[in-house]
């Protein structure tokens, strides 16, 4: 049996990192709560979006990142992104996978309780999995033959056939492993649960006024650590400028999503500090004509020219205050099986040379540059850079939903498309949608990449699978199927009372967390 969070190259072996992760988890499980002063004080967060009661229930998690803002506070999961490790053991003390890849076993740690004081049991874990009906529900459950709970602390998932992505979907791409209390849910029902949710997370539900605020209180016996802040109030302030004013006046302590000039203003304001969550969506240029021999984009040198034409750093500095992550891959750096290609380089002279070699010494007209209107500023900056080397295109910003529909309906056959993705998953799931034949967003594909895809999908040997996925990502990069522009950073601002805002502490998670690590000055 191999540990689930093990990243070793040999089956059965445990690396230092994985071993350390397990050691930390076991250590924390075995020890009593750190002795600390009772939680005190109140922290107010100005949230940018109305909070929906459906987000109190992890069983209904949609394919959106936003609900995790609440789920991380109210609930806890078997394995999830942790500060120490992503993914890391949380309610699960340990885990393992059978050599045939058919059985996944989890051992619950001793001690965690729900907010009503009842212990978290294997039965709750099973119940939570079975009642889950959110994002990718069918995809996950169709592959699971049974869930067994031989004792109160052991949960065993048996698959119908080996599926190396089981853990990706169980612990990251869905909310199925966030544990809810069976007895309480059966007593109050789904509607009652949304009115007063109970979880095993670091904060308890106190009250909720739709469109106004959510009040949470410390779950002082939280297994990982007793929160130091007694009360957290999430105030809904949809207007960005108003949010910043509220922060400046001390009405709130953290303001989510403060961008552009307002972020510059916040940076200049004494007492306020910018808090960056760097793991947002990837944004990239895609060339749908690269498979059309009559198009300039079919020439690799033209795509390489586009790669060198972009002044990544200047765009990042201007639009994101330099906080977006620059990479040449469309796979986020925190994803499992990611392979990092060489960093993007801005070299307009080289771009012009490549264009000349490709037979376009004076550049060419690339037609339209299609993009989601919310990020038209990024498109405009990229277009200016392309124009400087001779690739001219007209910006076509389209409202997000219409843009996405046009993209997936394959309506943008000519020109350049500015794609983006914030979908959960790993390198395999990301490539399947964007780079492999039949993917929702693929306008064409390359046989060598297509050939590797099904092989890795069924490869249970982790090392072999990683090698296959690395090969795929290398091919994607070498062919310059995409020119990645940035991985978006989520900019937030904290006020003078905040000692630890908890933003950016957990990889792949963009909101405050771990909530139990947040602190006010002097608390």
């Amino acid at each position: 049996m191999t540990s689930i969070t093990d990243r070793s190259t040999e089956p059965g072996a445990i690396t230092r990192r994985a071993g350390l992760g397990l050691f930390i988890s076991s250590l924390l499980a075995g020890q009593s709560l750190p002795a600390s002063a009772a939680a005190s004080g109140q922290l107010n967060i100005g949230v940018h979006i109305s909070l929906a009661p459906t987000w109190f229930d992890p069983g209904e998690t949609p394919g959106l990142i936003t609900p995790y803002m609440l789920i991380f506070a109210l609930h806890d999961a078997m394995i999830r992104p942790m500060r120490e490790e992503t993914p890391g053991h949380s309610l699960a003390e340990s885990s393992s996978i059978s050599p045939d890849g058919l059985t996944y076993s989890f051992k619950l740690r001793q001690g965690p309780t729900f907010h009503d004081g009842s212990p978290v049991t294997a039965d709750d874990v099973k119940f939570s999995f079975e009642r889950y009906r959110g994002n990718s529900n069918a995809l996950l459950k169709d592959r699971v033959a049974s869930v067994e709970t031989p004792d109160a602390r052991t949960v065993i998932f048996k698959l119908k056939e080996p599926w190396p992505d089981f853990l990706t979907f169980y612990t990251a791409a869905t909310g199925a492993n966030w544990v809810v209390p069976r007895k309480y849910l059966e007593k109050v029902g789904d509607a009652g649960f949304k009115k007063h949710p109970i979880g095993a997370g670091p904060y308890k539900f106190v009250s909720f006024q739709p469109g106004v605020e959510l009040v949470l209180e410390a779950h002082e016996t939280y297994w990982r650590k007793s929160p130091s802040i007694k009360r957290i109030v999430m105030k809904v302030i949809p207007d960005e400028a108003t949010r910043l004013v509220a922060l400046k006046r001390g009405e709130i302590d953290i303001a989510y999503s403060i961008r552009g000039e307002l972020a510059v203003d916040a940076q200049r304001t004494p007492g306020l500090s910018l808090k960056i969550a760097p793991d947002g969506a990837m944004y990239f240029m895609y060339f749908p004509e690269q498979w059309d021999p009559a198009s300039p984009w079919s020439d690799l040198r033209v795509r390489q020219a586009a790669f060198h034409a972009i002044d990544y750093k200047s765009i990042n500095d201007a639009l994101c205050l330099g906080h977006c992550y620059l990479s040449s891959s469309i796979v986020p750096r925190a994803f499992e099986f990611v392979w990092q290609p060489p960093a993007p380089t801005y070299d307009p002279a080289k771009a012009r040379k490549l264009l000349a070699e490709a037979g376009h010494p004076n550049g060419f007209d690339a037609g339209f540059y299609w993009c989601d209107s919310s990020y038209a500023n990024l498109g405009e900056a990229a277009l200016n850079n392309l124009a400087e080397v001779g690739i001219k295109a007209q910006l076509r910003p389209i409202e997000r939903a219409g843009f996405d529909k046009g993209f997936t309906d394959k309506r943008y056959k000519k020109g350049i498309i500015q794609g983006s993705s914030a979908a959960f998953g790993n390198a395999s799931t990301r490539l399947s949608v964007w780079a492999v034949k039949g993917g929702a967003y693929t306008y064409g594909s390359y046989p060598d990449i297509d050939e590797l895809y099904p092989k890795q999908l069924t490869e249970v040997d982790r090392a072999k699978r990683a090698a296959l996925l690395e090969q795929m990502q290398k091919l994607v990069y070498e062919k310059h199927m995409f020119v990645n522009l940035w991985q978006l950073a989520f900019l937030n601002v904290a006020g003078p009372r905040v000692a630890e805002a908890g933003i950016g502490l957990v990889k792949t998670y963009v909101y405050t967390g771990p909530y139990e690590d947040m602190a006010l000055k002097g608390s």
Partner: protein
């Protein structure tokens, strides 16, 4: 009379049916809500599952049939975003909107009516010109700008008032002013024109000939009659304030129906937009129906009109 009421009620019902069809179709022209209920790059399976969950995979006429069927049972459907009944959402926001609307209305009448009277009495003079400038600014300055300027002045520089949210009287002052500002200008203009019309009438001349003081003429005879169209407009405006204070409620994070509508539009939450628009429309239709009936009672000629 019975026939008249039945005919007017029939027209009102037809108006509501047409409104329901219009809003049902127009909100769908904005695009597919599933794209906003998932992150970019979501799988086709997840998008299809969401469409099936909300019945968006059905033909439009079936969706409309389901919507109307639920409506007849008093069910406005469940919000895509909140996943709770739209009626519950509406009712939870209604008290906030009522408080804001009544405050804004009080402010708009307190400012609009006296300034309108003053402008009419001093026509062509300083107060009239000042009133015209006030009306121009009131009707042309967008409420979001007024709101943000107020936040800047009263919250940031003077630090007198909280910048946003709801709670106490201090929270209410700026949104009520920002919302009432536009309507104050409208009420001022109507009061002025109505007063000018009344002041030129024969009975006012007679009152003056009888030797009544100018204050007595204005207060006792002109003002009361000039007030009728203003009160009628104020009634309709109150309904508008309750239902469409979208910008003000968003800028000040005021949790009312306007913001609910804003959220509905932002997330293509079809049931919310349909519900809010229909309830607002129903309020206006019912008020108009009552006014028609009252008119018919007062003036029998009206009910004899075909």
């Amino acid at each position: 009379m019975k026939h008249y009421i039945a005919r007017r009620a029939g027209y009102s019902l037809l108006s509501l049916i047409l409104l329901s069809l219009t809003i049902f179709l127009f909100i769908r022209l904005t695009g597919d809500p599933t794209a906003l209920l998932t992150e970019p790059g979501a799988s086709e399976e997840d998008i299809a599952a969401i469409q099936a969950k909300f019945g968006l995979d059905q033909p439009l006429w079936i969706q409309y049939g389901v919507f109307m069927g639920s409506l007849l049972r008093g069910d406005l459907g469940d919000s895509f975003y909140y996943q709770t009944p739209v009626l519950d959402l509406y009712l939870s926001r209604l008290p906030n909107s009522l408080i804001l609307a009544v405050s804004a209305m009080a402010f708009s009448l307190l400012l609009g009516i006296p300034s309108g009277i003053l402008a009419a009495v001093k026509v062509g003079k300083f107060w009239d010109n000042a009133g015209k400038l006030f009306a121009l600014l009131g009707l042309s300055l967008p409420s979001f700008l007024v709101g943000l300027l107020m936040i800047l002045l009263f919250s940031v520089y003077l630090e007198w008032l909280p910048s946003s949210g709801s709670g106490g009287i201090l929270h209410l002052l700026m949104p009520a002013f920002a919302l009432g500002w536009y309507f104050a200008a409208a009420h001022m203009r109507l009061t002025r024109s109505s007063m000018l019309e009344v002041m030129g009438s024969e009975y006012i001349k007679l009152a003056r000939l009888k030797g009544l003081s100018e204050t007595g003429v204005i207060a006792k005879h002109a003002f009361k009659n000039a007030l009728i169209p203003v009160v009628t407009l104020a009634g309709i405006n109150l309904i508008n304030m309750i239902n469409v204070a979208v910008v003000v409620e968003t800028v000040f994070a005021w949790p009312g129906i306007g913001r609910l509508l804003y959220e509905g539009v932002s997330f293509r939450d079809f049931p919310v937009v349909q519900g809010v628009v229909l309830i607002g429309g129903a309020m206006i239709v019912v008020v108009n129906l009552l006014v028609d009936i009252i008119y018919a009672i007062i003036d029998p000629r009206i009910r004899l009109e075909k």
